[in-house]
Assembly symmetry: C2
Homo-oligomer: 152 residues x 2
């Protein structure tokens, strides 16, 4: 269950795999055969919860389809209890999927972050600066490329 080593001098093993193994304590709120959910140790809001596959997979697309289904089922199952426990009106449900997207722990994890009117209600859109200026042909081409890339 321990992750492979990473190219990080300060990090011999994956912190989330160590949580799964019980070597690092966590406030676990849900667990089943393939997934686990626990409070983020550095919460952005009360009730900020992480959902992970127990096995180590770095990115969303690296998770085998069956286990990904389990992870998402756990996310779906937890959204309402997380919001309710926090007394929140909404939530941001998100993966920083890859280092360039700001992923810090290289073990795929979905954030469920309770949201409140007083936190400003900014959407994920607020991460981004200027929007790209894309022409119709460019949009058509990229849509075709995505559609062609989908495996059955």
């Amino acid at each position: 269950m321990i992750c492979e080593r990473f190219d990080r001098p300060d990090m011999d093993d994956c912190i989330f795999c160590q949580i799964v193994a019980g070597d690092i304590p966590s406030r676990t709120v849900y667990e089943d055969a393939t997934t686990m959910a626990f409070l983020d140790a550095n919460p952005l809001a009360p009730g900020h919860t992480l959902v992970i596959p127990k096995d180590h997979h770095e990115h969303v697309q690296d998770i085998p389809a069956g286990v990904a289904g389990d992870v998402f089922a756990t996310v779906h199952r937890l959204v309402a209890p997380v919001q309710d426990a926090a007394g929140a009106e909404a939530s941001t449900v998100a993966f920083n999927n890859g280092e360039v997207a700001g992923q810090e722990v290289p073990h795929a994890h979905c954030h469920i972050i309770p949201r409140f009117t007083e936190d400003g209600s900014a959407p994920i859109h607020s991460i981004f600066g200027e929007r790209p200026d894309l022409g119709d042909d460019e949009l058509d081409d990229i849509a075709d490329d995505i559609a062609d890339g989908v495996s059955d």
Copy 2:
């Protein structure tokens, strides 16, 4: 397939339901019996894709478990093709789940947004300001509340 009406004077029907019905054109990249994926009409990055349940459900937790599984399977299936088509190194995969989380169209939708080194790599964490100062007892209580709220 047309949504219920909303309390918005400028919006008689749900734009995503109209896309599903074919009444509004979209650049569709994937479709199956219960889900649909198309390019965001106001992309934050080239290839910015939305995945929705075809039936109208406002929030993640409102989607029946089976259909939620289908939505997440489509998200999982599309992440790699979206990144590849955009030439991206990563992605932000996220729901603004509820108006207070910045959700603008009241039909649950998952954003898959390609990310690039030059976009600054800010995580979803950058949405939030000051982190809450929570004591151990408070964290224990909220973890218990979440765990108690999870339905089997």
